[in-house]
């Protein structure tokens, strides 16, 4: 009899404990993120879509060699002719070789970040992982992003509709892309 009453008391107490747990959680804010209208900003070292700055790039090809999946390709621009030295003025240093075109194939990229690590430009890297995780590809041709001088950070890709290169406009930026040092 004593055991029975102890059992009933114990069961009731545990029942109340369970109810208390759910009641507490009920009044806590929910962790759901209403994705299309509300977006989580990833942590600072998140490796999202690659951003590329054609102005900063010196076309050294370090990223091409560093890439383990061989998804980067680039072509150097022809060196600009050095202007003839003018009397009484310091000599103009020869311009650094700049990029003709630069492509990244996202079909192969595994977002390891070695290209960003190997990029030697100072003070700012020419290639870095942004915090952007929203990218859509509907064909393999679209997965290849191409940059030329004058393009923005997201480059261009061949659109499925007409097969022409067009700027990436449908990629919604999570946040401003922080400039990496």
């Amino acid at each position: 009899m004593k055991n029975y009453i102890a059992f009933v008391f114990d069961a009731s107490w545990n029942t109340l404990k369970g109810l208390w747990v759910t009641l507490k959680v009920l009044f806590l804010p929910s962790i759901t993120v209403q994705y299309p209208t509300e977006k989580i900003v990833p942590y600072a070292r998140f490796r999202g879509m690659l951003a590329y700055d054609a102005e900063a790039c010196i076309a050294c090809g370090m990223c091409v060699r560093a890439c383990p999946s061989k998804c980067i390709a680039l072509a150097k621009a022809a060196a600009a002719p050095v202007p003839a030295p003018v009397e009484g003025q310091p000599a103009v240093p020869p311009a650094k070789p700049k990029i003709e075109w630069y492509t990244i194939d996202y079909g192969r990229c595994n977002f390891c970040g070695l290209c960003e690590e190997s990029c030697p430009t100072k003070p700012k890297k020419a290639l870095w992982h942004s915090l952007d995780y929203e990218a859509i590809f509907s064909t393999r041709a679209e997965m290849v992003r191409r940059w030329k001088r004058g393009d923005d950070l997201w480059g261009t890709a061949r659109k499925t509709a007409d097969g022409q290169l067009a700027p990436i406009t449908d990629q919604i930026h999570i946040q401003s892309v922080p400039v990496r040092k």
């Binding site: 369970g18 747990v21 959680v25 209403q34 509300e38 989580i40 900003v41 102005e55 923005d152 950070l153």
Partner: protein
């Protein structure tokens, strides 16, 4: 290379109209940070303010409307005089008036299902840290149930090949009709009652029991062994839990000396010492035990978790309603929520004084508002249990009823007799 060329695009913060959150550059939504100090979240404070505003607003509207029940008699007299002046026989006036009242009684389970399904989804979501329906309707998915209902209307009505067609068609009807009829003697407030009959309590338990027939019919006629199992389990469960449920009410009936539900609610009016309401739940020991037994048995009667073995999703593939689709499926749901509402209304009449205010100075709100709020709080308990407890095993379910609830309720009747003897 200038600073301008590398300056990235800075986007406008996205304002989320659904919950008022603003995405700022430094926003982090990690749960641990959020849960440490929920009051530091502006949205949490806003939500609390909205909830408080809703409750106060509804209370204000209720105060503005005032009592509805006593106003119906003058309206009836006016309509009667108007109709009599045109030579309508008095018998037909009474018939039409009964029909008008019947429409309102019919509305109760229908509106209740619309609201309760949405509320259940919201509460289940928030217990699991989700949000539940958020898009349909203007506010937090308020019209989600309506959209689901329209979808169910448009669904194809599938009848399995091996089903008994007639019984399969008849079963939802047999389940639903008692679920509506049972609201006849139940009060919704002072004088807000369809049929003020003296045997109201017996009527409710008797008519409510008819629905078991429909569930067995649904299980048997589906031609599906899981449905049949569900129907039979339901029969076993409902028949056995009917006993402690009825016995739990007996002390209330003994004390009140009547079977009329409205009179039982009226018996509990007044306050002990001007503060503690004379509700039956505050009668020492007997009241609390009776309430707990009645609550547990009601949860079992309405086939809800943790007593939902007739429709155990994981073992019986939803049990007796597996083979139902479209509106027939919705009718089963409608009757389930109608019985939940009925249990809550009965509990607030039997144990919480019906339309009486919990404190003397709060009686400026009309009785129907108190009735409704007590019913909703009890209905919240049903949903709360559902998302807290795991399901009983079949044999333990029977053990719990026959070895615990039934003896306790029988002892409670004896204790109620002792209490009456002490009080007299």
């Amino acid at each position: 290379m200038t600073e301008e060329t590398i300056q990235p695009k800075v986007l406008e913060p996205v304002f989320n109209h659904a919950n008022g959150r603003l995405l700022m550059p430094e926003t982090r939504y990690w749960p641990t940070d959020m849960w440490k100090s929920p009051w530091s979240l502006p949205t949490y404070r806003r939500g609390a303010a909205v909830l408080a505003g809703l409750i106060l607003g509804i209370a204000g509207v209720a105060w503005f409307i005032g009592e509805i029940g006593p106003r119906l008699a003058p309206i009836y007299t006016l309509a009667e005089q108007f109709a009599l002046s045109y030579g309508v026989p008095a018998f037909w006036i009474a018939v039409v008036w009964t029909f008008i009242k019947g429409v309102f009684v019919l509305l109760a389970p229908a509106l209740n299902a619309l609201f309760a399904v949405w509320w259940e989804r919201k509460i289940s979501a928030h217990i699991q840290s989700r949000m539940g329906p958020m898009y349909v309707g203007w506010w937090h998915g308020a019209l989600q149930t309506l959209a689901d209902g329209i979808k169910l209307f448009l669904k194809e009505d599938i009848v399995p090949d091996c089903a008994d067609k007639v019984v399969h068609w008849l079963a939802p009807v047999v389940v639903l009709i008692p679920a509506i009829l049972v609201f006849a003697p139940v009060p919704f407030g002072k004088d807000l009652i369809y049929a003020n009959i003296d045997i109201g309590t017996v009527y409710v338990f008797a008519v409510g029991g008819v629905s078991v027939m429909g569930i067995i019919m649904a299980g048997w006629s589906s031609g599906n062994k899981f449905s049949l199992l569900g129907g039979l389990r339901s029969a076993a469960q409902l028949v056995s839990y009917e006993l402690p449920r009825t016995f739990a009410v007996l002390p209330v009936i003994m004390l009140a000396g009547t079977l009329n539900i409205a009179d039982i609610a009226g018996f509990q009016a007044g306050y002990w010492g001007g503060i503690v309401p004379r509700w039956f739940i505050f009668y020492p020991v007997v009241g609390q035990v009776a309430f707990i037994v009645f609550l547990i048995a009601s949860v079992a009667e309405t086939n809800r978790v943790p007593f939902d073995i007739p429709e155990a999703e994981s073992e019986l593939v939803a049990g007796f309603n597996t083979e139902y689709s479209g509106m027939k499926f919705a009718l089963f749901f409608l009757s389930e929520f109608a019985y939940v509402l009925l249990s809550c209304l009965l509990m607030s009449s039997f144990f919480f004084g019906g339309g009486a205010a919990p404190l003397p100075f709060l009686d400026f709100l009309p009785s129907w508002a108190w009735f409704l709020s007590k019913t909703l709080i009890l209905m919240f308990c049903f949903l709360w249990f559902r998302w807290t407890f795991p399901r009983f095993r079949v044999d333990r379910l029977m053990d719990f009823n026959w070895k615990f609830l039934l003896p306790v309720s029988l002892l409670n009747i004896a204790a109620g007799g002792v209490l009456i003897w002490l009080l007299s």
